[in-house]
Symmetry: C2
Subunit: 399 residues, 2 copies
């Protein structure tokens, strides 16, 4: 096991939390390319240099700590949701920092990374997808956030420090430690989850267009109320998904906008998000068919027009068997009988990195399953157990 | 009939349209206290002075053209919706200007007015409600727009020109000309509607609060998705209103906000508007009982918390019989057999003014019933017919 230092690790984790601390509990507000995000990345680069690694920003704003020669890569992302917790991404980044430091002390070459915009200000896992070759930098540059700012504009904030992308062939593989973000480990009183695979995601925006009109003088039977399209669509998919999904399948509408958004105007346009996730690519496809059929049915039934954005499609990604086995040996050493294999319902940068090399992921428990919220937390004992499991696997895989 | 000049009237109407013209069709963007709104009000004050009226801004930003002695008051409002048409309010204001001018030429004392914030940047018919004594200026000063700006801050933009409120006893009564904003006159090929009464309105914001969580890792059966509250609420009221409402009853949700509004987060909070209108005060009350019962049922059924804003309550207002009769004689002279009596489904400043004096309203057709939208329009022949009907009634009632 690499000689990790739990106190140093926890001190670094709390320091990173202080950059963008929200003032509410342990909450953090550090979205991609915000001032706190850039401050955090420059602080990470300083830490990497102190270890003797080459600190490098790539063109997407990802910050790397690169060991010489062929090395094992360990890391995650340090950007957060608009209202995020202190561990999502940050935990994996500080695990990477501590393991790279322990590796340097033990003569085991460990590189580390904090990817940019995992949380999707512009896309989702934006920077790792570019590095993984799943999106081109040119295409990504056109992506906009909710304020209309492009990825190209945002990444230009770091142009003074940017270098090249590292060559993927310099890495033996990638391990990402992350909070589970779900309830299973916490409910079972277990310390760790070894991820078997990452579910696939489909995500789109749907727009129904009707007729904007006065809410007092337009009789109910003459309205073409775009909001009715949303209600009917949700009713149809709830019905049609019933015999198609499994207990692990999830679908979510997290954003709705009515136009023009006045109490006294029948909305002429309704735009909303539709996202679904499942570990089975075939099921994702069948759900897409239901979604598209339901959109068409709503439009013809209610006399609305319908349109959809391009669909984001991320396929399910299996984790490397050998890496999983190494993590399992570490887990059995540090938390015997208190870990499980499990799928990841959340997308992670590891899914992008899998295009280049073997990848694996380790989960630690999320208290009450809460994440993407100020209340997100994990017991510090569990954080340290996760670090030690990684230290076992990194010793074995990194030499 | 007062000696109105249709060409002068139409020229003034087009000039007012040019102040805040949206660049799309005949659309206008001139919300209360915006730069175009203030420019328009100062231009109106200049026109009033040119006629020989006393031009006065009251403390709410309403601009008055005051004839000497006891006079008939004719007007409406010149502010628009965030995306408005060229006639809503503006038509009644320019009718008032032309009739005051014709009255001055004929020796009939006609005063005129453009009320402020009829469209509800802060409340709804904000300024006329203050003048009508339905709201105090102190209470109104606390109202905020969607950006958090208070009415007190907004009206301070006109503090350099503000005078006192005019005494309501100086007016014999009030007539407001307005586009119908509904489909009935246009569909029937009729030129005018004489309003029998204005429907009452109830309006509130409803919030369901659940648990914000990750959209990939939170199983469907463990979610407390606030958006589900909105869906279930809409289902319940659609069912429960069915045997309560009449064909004229309307209800609308024109604004929805999910928090935090991300594709990848199960929304922890959903806030939406709920407005309903009817001519019968008892039915409005019964609908309120259904609304409140349904909110409670949704909350307990789905394990959400629920809260509501204060409810805005505007009661139905009948129009004066004698004024209606005078308008009917004018309509029969100018458009024989081509007019009707009808209720107003929209709220108007006349409803506030009714607290002080006899009021009446005249409607002209809205093409395809469209209003509160850039497409709002009326044939110019119909606008002139409306002006002439008013000129008959104003001659009769104003002397």
């Amino acid at each position: 096991m690499l000689p990790v230092n739990p106190d140093r690790f926890l001190a670094d984790l709390h320091h990173l939390r202080s950059i963008g601390a929200s003032g509410v509990g342990k909450g953090v507000v550090r979205p991609a390319f915000s001032d706190p995000d850039i401050t955090a990345r420059k602080w990470l680069a300083d830490q990497y240099r102190d270890i003797g690694l080459e600190a490098r920003f790539d063109p997407t704003g990802t910050v790397w700590g690169l060991a010489e020669g062929k090395s094992l890569l360990i890391g995650s992302h340090s950007d957060t949701q608009p209202e995020g917790g202190w561990l999502d991404g940050a935990l994996g980044v500080i695990c990477g920092l501590e393991l790279a430091r322990a590796g340097a002390e033990a003569g085991v070459p460990i590189s580390t990374v904090s990817f940019q915009d995992e949380e999707g200000r512009f896309g989702v896992t934006t920077s790792s997808r570019i590095w993984g070759g799943l999106t081109s930098l040119e295409d990504a540059d056109q992506l906009t956030d909710t304020q209309g700012i492009t990825f190209a504009d945002a990444r230009s904030r770091l142009s003074d420090v940017m270098g090249d992308f590292p060559d993927p062939s310099r890495f033996k593989g990638f391990i990402e430690c992350h909070i589970e973000q779900g309830p299973w480990l916490d409910k079972a009183g277990e310390a760790a989850g070894i991820v078997s695979g990452i579910v696939g995601i489909r995500d789109m925006r749907i727009t129904f267009t009707g007729e904007q009109n006065h809410a007092g003088t337009t009789p109910m039977h003459m309205r073409k109320d775009a909001f009715r399209g949303l209600l009917r669509y949700q009713e149809l998919i709830a019905d049609r998904f019933r015999n198609l999904v499994v207990p692990e399948t999830v679908w979510t509408t997290g954003h709705v906008e009515l136009h023009p958004g006045s109490h006294s105007i029948v909305p002429g346009r309704c735009t909303f998000s539709m996202q679904w996730r499942d570990g089975d690519k075939q099921r994702l496809k069948q759900m897409e068919e239901v979604v598209r059929l339901s959109i068409d049915d709503v439009a013809s039934e209610l006399g609305l027009k319908a349109s959809t954005s391009d669909m984001l499609g991320i396929d399910p990604v299996p984790m490397d068997d050998g890496f999983q086995a190494a993590l399992a040996r570490g887990a059995e050493a540090e938390a015997p009988g208190k870990w499980r294999k499990m799928p990841s319902g959340a997308l992670h940068d590891a899914a992008s990195v899998a295009a280049h090399m073997p990848v694996a992921m380790l989960f630690v428990p999320s208290i009450n399953g809460i994440s993407h919220a100020f209340e997100e937390d994990t017991a510090e004992d569990d954080l340290v157990t996760g670090l030690k499991i990684l230290a076992h696997a990194a010793e074995e895989l990194g030499r």
